[in-house]
Symmetry: C2
Subunit: 133 residues, 2 copies
DNA sequence: TTCAATAATAAGAATTATTATTGATTTGAT
DNA sequence: ATCAAATCAATAATAATTCTTATTATTGAA
């Protein structure tokens, strides 16, 4: 017969990450799937995340408040991180052309693979909550 | 007369961070100063780093391999992080004008305070060590 | 079906980085 | 010298992540 148990949790982990734009943490994924898979363990989530990362199916988009944030959208794009609530938003707009990687590599004598642009500040919600920050 | 409350250790911690361009970790600072201050504790390093950060005298420039990296140069500039050895280099060149912060804020309805641009890849040294990576 | 090899798993221990607590000591204005 | 606030080291606590281990599931072959 076809495998059942094999892939379901793993698929669900990947699916959960890809289906959200919240740039979730491992803990978020775990909490999300616990209802559907009561015997899921956090270690399994971490293990699969590591595998998906090295397979290039998801990527890490930084650490916010000590927790790694994941993104199922592996196409390069910029982010905004709210220093209040930690929300991470996509900023899909071309700030820097991709050629800049090559340029930088040449100028500084490095092998540049990619770049990450992160804006920081307060999101709309936190702006109202803590005005004048 | 205003109190200074700057002990020698405290001065040394700030000085150590500002005097290097390696973007050190707390542990690095601790190891660095242990010879001069044998009774220094890692907790003191962390405590002072936190104070210097909130006073704006140093800043955090990201987390590499799970460790927070510090920079005594608070003027905005881009960085390069080597995925091999974790080295962090300054790239002092204007990639994005500062006005982009305001623009992004307007366009996306956010209060943007700053942005961080990080290039990733292999440094010269690691390039030779692991060719073709 | 039975078997062995392989891969996925949960649970929890271990590790690592960081923060908080505590109680003693030092500092500096008076 | 006095005294309150600042500073300190040591230690305990916390939080995120990784590692270990024993168990179970899957597969392909005999």
């Amino acid at each position: 017969m076809k495998r059942q148990n094999f892939s379901r949790k793993r698929e669900a982990i990947l699916e959960a990450i890809c289906a959200t734009d919240t740039h979730p943490t491992a803990e978020w994924v775990y909490q999300r799937l616990k209802a559907e898979f009561p015997d899921l363990s956090l270690g399994t989530v971490y293990r699969n995340i590591a595998q998906f990362k090295s397979a290039g199916r998801i990527r890490s988009v930084g650490v916010v408040k000590g927790q790694e944030r994941l993104d199922g959208d592996t196409a390069p794009h910029a982010h905004f991180v709210c220093s209040g609530c930690g929300a991470m938003l996509d900023l899909k707009r071309d700030f820097l052309p991709r050629e800049v990687n090559e340029e930088v590599g040449k100028i500084f004598g490095l092998e540049v693979e990619n770049h990450e642009l992160v804006f920081r500040g307060k999101c709309n919600h936190c702006m109202r909550k803590h005005p004048g920050a």
